[in-house]
Amino acid sequence: MIHTDPLTMQYPTAVQTSLSANAIFARFDPSGRFIATAQHQGSALIWDMDSKNAIRWLEGHVKPLTSMDWSRNSKYLLTTSKDWNAIVWDIETAAEVDPCQRKRTVRFDAPVVSGSFHPKNCKILLILLSTGEAFIVDLRKGHAGRFELYDQHEGDDQRPAAFTVVHFDPIGRYVFVGTSNGSILVFHSRTKTLLARHKVTGAGIMRGFAFTKGGRRLTTNSSDRVLRLFYLPTYPSPPASSTTPSQPSTPNPQIVNQIQPESQVLEQEFEPVHRFHDPITKTAWHTMSYSPDGDWLAGGAADPANHKIYIWDIQHNGQFTTTLDGGREPLVHVDWHPSKPMIASTTSQGTVLVWHYPTPERWGAFAGGFEEVDENVVYEECEDEFDIEDENELERRKKIEEEQFVDIDTLDDLLISSSTGGTNGEVDEDTAWALDEPDDDLPGWTLKVVIEVTPEY
């Protein structure tokens, strides 16, 4: 067994290494080869996870970073900062010039709290400002504009609740918005219309969202110090494309009313499937992150004196499994590796701890045809084990076996990487919209290797 068996997928248990990154948070790229760390003074660093070297410097912001998001094939990185800017970095061409080149800078009129790429097109950004406003910023020529997301209904009678979290679902069809009064709003990415409004009782201010890869489960972090896990319902089909607001401004309220009668907005109280909290210390949570298979959830505790990551087993009723203790430096951020049992947790001192699952050395692997057993077993001879067979017969059989067709050059990951289409091959309207003017974040691009020149040669 060469590859890690998905059934034995584990959570990390020990610190493998630490990066002195002076970081405020760290995010793995989708391939898991790199990790980006955000620095206090506004720069970002990209590290190679194999060599643990910083390989790229992104200098552009002048105030602390607030969020970073990788494009799906790691070619681009979106950084947002308190300096009112969001920057899209091109990691690939960055090699020629050091520090890195920015591809695009988008300026806002308030500090930017978070930014993320549309999962299918890096030319569509989702931005949240500290004023509680959220925008879909479309950088495509045919769709260009900033579209504000807002809740029409609440605007009528009272001051609308500020938006505190925004997040695309994993396929980019919806935008999930958390508000300061404990609601979750679901917008349709293409039409920017409100589809559903969920009230979460007792949640307080929404602080963070985490989706599983499939997008069926959503975990929220809120000011009442509880992580809640929800199973998402299916949302009503979006309005026809003919009514798509095409003006690069906020949608005209009249049009919105036409296509979006209030009755069509799904009003639903959300009841969590699981609640995760620490019943004794009542600690708050900084962030949470799912394991790649969605079977484990890691929560970073906002404990002022300890570095603690809580692990819950989602497969088994969300039961609490263990706490990873990372010492005295308080934790500020956690991020789970996209494919391995590995977590990066950032301390308040700026160190990034890389947690892994240490695999014991299998000495049996050093001997050909040797199998390790946990306990002694009585050896049972196979029926034909010591039979003397005609050598010619054996060779003849071997010859026939060797007639089997062997495919030496078709790549398996083709099937996986071509997932830009619809979920089951068909391209629906939302996907078509997202893939119009596609980005150039293609799989298989290669980071240019920059060899440090040593003067002695």
């Binding site: 067994m1 060469i2 190679d48 194999d50 060599s51 070297n53 390989i55 695999t359 050395e361 299998r362 692997a365 050093f366 001997a367 050909g368 045809g369 040797f370 010619n392 060779e395 003849r396 071997k398 010859k399 026939i400 076996e401 060797e402 007639e403 089997q404 067709f405 062997v406 495919d407 030496i408 050059d409 078709t410 790549l411 398996d412 990951d413 083709l414 990487s417 071509s418 293609l442 799989p443 298989g444 691009w445 290669t446 980071l447 240019k448 290797v449 920059v450 060899i451 440090e452 020149v453 040593t454 040669y457």
Partner: protein
Amino acid sequence: MAADPEDITSAGEDSPTDDDNASQTTEDDPQVPQPQPPTNEYLDRPPPPPTSTTSRDSPRYELTYTMSGHTQSISAVKFSPDGTLLASCSGDKLVKIWSPHTGKLIRNLTGHSKGLSDIAWSFDSVFLASASDDATIRIWTVDTGLTTKILKGHTSYVFCVNYNSVSDKLVSGCCDGDIKIWDVTKGKCLKTLRAHLDYVTAVHFNRDASLIVSCACDGLIRIWNSATGQCLKTLAESHNAICQHVQFSPNSKYILSTTHDHAIRLWDYQTSRCLKTYTGHQNSKYCVVACFSVTGGKWIVSGSEDGKVYMWDLQSREIVQVLKAHTDVVVAVAVSSARIPHSYDPFLTDIVQMSQTHPQQNMIASASMDSDLTVRVWIDKSST
């Protein structure tokens, strides 16, 4: 018995041109009658090489250039991934860069203080790594001919070297049995694997660089987790034959090994099963290299101790062409894979189709030892 191999030939040779799926179902279909070798004579090794195959798919390589210049045994030849350059290295401490399109020497890379055993190109054809008996690996910028980095750390002769596919790492094998993984950007050793008890004769990364395969004069093929350095599996060649060259197939699902019992084998390393055996050449003493040729027809190409280069059909295992190449042992062969640029790679549904729509020249380079000392370039005329 002449009719039977003919059957295999027609079944096997349909595959490169026809729809791959169609041919696969044919191959897997248990109803297809398998050829029954009627006599013992058929089982004798080497089998009678059916060199007279007249299929349209057979390669027709012809000698195009003979390049001489090395003064001691040549140990390796490698085409650059973009197909524009050919590098050779030798016991005379030199790496020579040739143009395979003109047969001219472009430059020598000088700097090593002892003979060279192996070379490897980075994926972008910019850098070349060379492994030397002076216990170092040098990384050269080929355009300038200058050394960019010297990797020091091995305690003895470095015997083999290879890049990973993104070329930020190198793996090297040493004659003391160690394998080292290097970070190219800093020039530092990341890991040392106490891998074997004897000369490590070949090391190779798989496509995503998660695995390393190695073989050594202790007769073992081992597969390693490159991130943790742990041994995952050991394949022992049957017949106690010493394996002296090993590599992953282009899709990294199989490994190809050459051994001193005059045989080349294709292994499924997941199940430790030998899937194909290629015989007919001579190999009992030297480290002779074999390689995959996947542009055009799918062949296995290998040097031989009788001074020839042999080509087998990947599926049918029949010899499709023999090049009467050199007057001494052919230790090194290389195939110009003329790889599809890396950035398009994953969109490719079928490499064969790609090469059909964009015809290209398929080249083989071969190099020989002491009494011959030439590098020869062969071009396939069947595709032009």
